[in-house]
Each structure stands twice: as C-alpha cells, then as structure tokens.
C-alpha cells in the first residue's frame, strides 16, 4: 500500500492525520487523486449539497495601527491619502439601502483604529439591529477582538459579551494569516499573535458563539507552516467544536509590500482546498471563497472538497485593494447557476448554516440527454479549430 493510500485509509476510518500525513498530502504529485479523496469526504459529509448565502460586506474604517506586509487595504492613520472612517449614519445607511430583501448577513471587518472608543462599536451594532433587525451580524475578526481587549483593558470574554449584548451574532475567520510565529512575526508583527487569535475563538466558543477560521496562503510560508496552521485549528476544534467553516484565502500581491512574490496558482488553490478538507475533517464546512480564488476555480473547488461558495457580497474592498479582478459581487442567480452546473444541489443558508431554501438540482430531462448524446460528436468536433 502506498503512503497516499495509507493516509486515505486513515482518513476514511476517522483516524486523526499527523503532521507528516498533512505534508505528504501537500506534496502528493497527483492533484486529481488528492481531489478525489477530498471529494469523497466532502460527499460523505454533505452529499451534493453546496451552500451559499445572501450577504454583504462592509468595512467601516480602513484606518489601522497594524502594518501587515500583505495588506493593501489598511491606511496607517486618519487623514492619510485613502484613509476613511464612516460615520454611524453612513454605515447604517449602507445596510438600510441594501437592495436585496433576502439579505441575511452583514459581514463587517475593520482596521484597528487607534482612537475610536469601545462604545462607538457598540452603538454601531445597535444601529445595525435597529435598521434591519433580522440580519445576522458577523463582525470583527479575532484580531479586532484582541485589539479591543488590550486597548480597553478587558478580557476577550468581556469584549465579546458586550458586543453580543449590542447585537453581535458570530465572528468571521479573518486575521489568522499563518499562525506559526516564524511567519507571523514577519508578515503581521504588530497584531494578535497565533495563540491570541486562537484564544479569542476559544473564548467565543465558550460563550456559545459560532465562528469561522481562515488561512492566508501563498506568500512566504512553506507547506510545513500550512500544515502546522491547519493542525492548530483542528486541535482547537477538537476541544470546542465551535468552528463552522474553514476558508483558505489566497494571497494577492498588488499594492502591498510583498509585490515581488508570485500569487498562488489555481493548482495551489485546489490543492489547498483538498488538503484542508482532509486535515480538518472535524470542521463541518470548507469554503471556496470566490473573491479570493476567482469564480472558475471556486466552482472547480466544489469537486476538490469545498461545499460552500460564500455569498453575494455586493461590495468587497479588501481583496480588490490587492488587485483582485473578480466582480465586486454576484447575484443569487449567478451563484445558483455555478453550483448547478457543477452537478451540485444549491442550498441557501443563513450564517449558522440553517437551511433557508434547498433548490432543485439542474434537471436534464431524458429526452434532452438523448439529443445531447446524438449531438455529442458534432459538439465535440465543434470545439476543435479547423
């Protein structure tokens, strides 16, 4: 039995993969074989169900005291060119004016603003709830929560409890970058470290909150750092069970200080999705975030272990500041089509994976299939240049 087959057997029987197993999966030369194994696990968990939601992104301030080398979004101080902080009224208006009546989630992350008082954030959340009470507030990365705790002399649990009382529903996964200190010290030296990121999530889980987790890959880290990262997340999940979803985030190289580095390729994106599914078998969902990896690759990732495409988003600025060429948003219909054409069943979900609507899979009537077969040769020929 080959090394790969031995690992596959281990995963099939639910045995925890080791660091060496993770590394071997990353180094597996046969991408399709890796994808097939990840897809097997994905289908065992979710069948053909593929999740998306109707959400919106909001970044209320890009003023940030941290100086992460991969970031093209943050401006170091108020008044710097491009720096902006919305007023409460502007932020509430953004939510109020969202055109989709089916909106279920506001996903907000911000810079680490040095001057805003804690009450400003509480009022912000209360206002969101006044404007659209039914919208789930998935706000503030663990890095922001840790920043608040340090700045306002509170514990993580105290920060989270106060924000929850103001309307916070769950935490997004951003800010994980690479948890290993060797990398984190170089790319994100002045914000929450890896242990602090995990401590915030642990505190949130202890309060009964669901959270997501991420990994920013494809910059200066090695496969060893990635595997270490995934296994740290796996270990926390084994303790708390509070992570709902893991989202690998591909590094983009424009307008930041890592511009000389090449971006991860589509093959790396697919490999990372597959390895994530296999190593994080205790986290329910793996998301192919279309903003990060592009629409085509995200769709293909639904065959490599991913079961979620994120949402409609509407107006994303963090990746677009770093050169992302994908659209700012997608319609519900576009997401449904992508999922259906991948042979999957679209499921519109809320933030905590409650099912809002399960849509029928693409139906190909038998008659149409016969026509398709008859035309197969002609169609096949028509794709060739003459």
């Amino acid at each position: 039995m080959s090394r790969f087959e031995a690992i596959a057997e281990k995963i099939r029987t639910g045995e925890a993969p080791s660091f060496e197993d993770g590394l071997a999966l990353y180094l597996e030369p046969d991408l399709l074989r890796l994808g097939q194994l990840a897809n097997e696990l994905r289908e065992r968990k979710h069948g053909d169900r593929t999740y998306f939601n109707v959400n919106m992104r909001l970044e209320v301030t890009n003023v940030c005291g941290a100086s992460c080398s991969f970031c093209a979004f943050a401006k170091l101080e108020e008044g710097a060119p491009g720096a902006r902080t919305m007023t409460h009224e502007q932020a509430w208006q953004e939510l109020a004016s969202h055109p989709d009546a089916k909106l279920t989630e506001l996903h907000m992350v911000n810079g680490l603003h040095p001057d805003l008082p804690f009450e400003w954030y509480e009022d912000l959340l209360r206002g969101f709830k006044r404007v659209r009470p039914g919208v789930h507030l998935k706000c503030f990365t663990a890095v922001e929560i840790h920043f608040f705790a340090e700045k306002f002399a509170m514990t993580h649990a105290q920060v989270l409890s106060r924000l929850r009382a103001a309307g916070l529903g769950s935490l997004p996964g951003g800010g994980a970058e690479i948890l290993h200190p060797e990398v984190r010290a170089r790319i994100a030296p002045d914000k929450a470290d890896g242990d602090q990121y995990l401590a915030v999530h642990r505190a949130a889980h202890a309060l009964g909150m669901k959270t997501n987790c991420t990994m920013l890959y494809g910059h200066i880290e090695t496969f060893e750092h990635r595997v270490d990262h995934l296994l740290r997340l796996r270990a926390l999940q084994a303790d708390t069970g509070g992570f709902q979803c893991f989202i690998p985030l591909a590094f983009h190289n424009e307008n930041n200080s890592l511009q000389k580095l090449p971006e991860p390729t589509a093959v790396d994106d697919l490999r990372t999705i597959a390895v994530s599914r296999l190593l994080l078998d205790n986290i329910p969902h793996i998301k192919a975030y279309w903003v990060s990896m592009g629409v085509d690759t995200a769709q293909i990732a639904l065959r490599f272990g991913a079961d979620d495409l994120d949402g409609t988003i509407v107006h994303e600025t963090i990746y677009h500041s770093a050169g992302s060429k994908v659209p700012m948003g997608m319609t519900r219909e576009q997401l449904v089509r992508l999922i259906r054409e991948a042979g999957r069943v679209p499921v519109e979900r809320d933030t905590e994976y409650g099912v809002i609507e399960e849509l029928p899979r693409a139906h190909v009537p038998e008659a149409a299939m016969k026509v398709r077969e008859r035309n197969a040769e002609r169609r096949n020929l028509s794709v060739f240049s003459r």
Binding site: R33, Q36, Q299, E377, S385
Partner: protein
C-alpha cells in the same frame, strides 16, 4: 498504467473496460464519450490525465506566434470561454478531458491561455491538456522585463508549479526551456 484509486473508481462506475481501452490509446467512440459526459468530473479527468501521462509524458508544449497556428500534431481546442453566460469552468474542463480521450494519442491537446485565462489553463494541464498556446504580447509589462518576457516567465512558472516540464515551440523548432540561457 491505471493507479489503484482510479481503477477502483472506474470499476465502481462500471467504466473499467472503457478506461483500459483508453489507456491502450485506442481512442474512444461516440457512445463512450456520451457515457463520460455523464460521469463524475474527476473520474473523467483522472482517466484523461492517466492517458496523457502514459502517451504524452510530462512535457508541456508552449506555442506562440506562428507555431501555434502551424503545428501539425496539435489539436487546438477552441473553447467558448470568457462569457458570463457561457460554459462554466467545470464544463470547460470536462470538454478538455473528453477531447484528450477522443483524440489519437499521437496528437497534443492544447488550450489557449488567452481564451481560458492563466488559472484555468493551468488547471487544464491536470485534465488531459499537454500544450498551451496564445499570444505572448497582450498583457501588462513589469518594470524590468518586456511584456513578452514577463508573460513568458509567468506561463513557464505556472507549468513548472504544476510539476510539468516546459518546451517552448516558436516558429518551426522546439526549444526546451532548460536549454535557453
């Protein structure tokens, strides 16, 4: 040779005999292709990739300029990519895999990196393609490199990061990238 995992998957899908014929380089006929149109994408891709590896090896031919138009043993797939209402990435990759399986193994199967975009073109290399073609002079330039040189490096990098070897074909002559200064 069909690996154990792919063999099991083919057997499970009732396609082992078809897979073995494909591996012998016999080329599949219309009913076979119709069957594979409905089969699991990664199963079809796995078979196309195994056929490619067995008969074409790990070399990826990169063709630009005149070579892309004149190369006689190249099947240039003209895919209807890039329209928002056109085929999705998954459908395009299925077509590429099916083209590999229905084309004589003496021919390369190539896709245009201009049509597909670099990301899908790179992914196509795992779905049976063994050639990429297109114009090198259509994109932005980097400060220290000409547009053509930058594009060339970018594409070579993509191929190499897929674990494959690069051979440029420009004009009538094939030039392995390792031999260039």
């Amino acid at each position: 040779m069909i690996g154990r995992m792919l063999r099991n998957a083919l057997q499970h899908a009732g396609l082992l005999e078809l897979g073995e014929r494909a591996m012998r380089g016999e080329g599949l006929d219309l009913p076979d292709i119709a069957t594979l149109e409905r089969a699991d994408l990664l199963l079809v891709a796995g078979l196309a990739d195994a056929v490619r590896r067995q008969h074409r090896g790990d070399e990826v031919r990169l063709l630009s300029g005149v070579a892309a138009k004149r190369e006689p043993d190249l099947l240039r797939l003209n895919l209807d990519a890039g329209r928002s209402d056109g085929p999705t990435g998954e459908e395009l990759l299925r077509r590429i895999a099916l083209a590999r399986l229905s084309t004589p193994c003496s021919k390369s199967v190539g896709v245009s990196f201009e049509q597909l975009g670099l990301e899908l073109a790179q992914t196509a290399l795992a779905f049976g393609a063994d050639a990429l073609w297109g114009d090198l002079e259509t994109r932005r330039t980097l400060p220290l490199l000409s547009g053509k040189a930058a594009r060339r490096q970018e594409i070579e990098g993509l191929v190499q990061r897929s674990g494959r070897r690069v051979r440029w074909v420009e004009g009538a002559q094939a030039v392995p990238v390792e031999s260039r200064s």
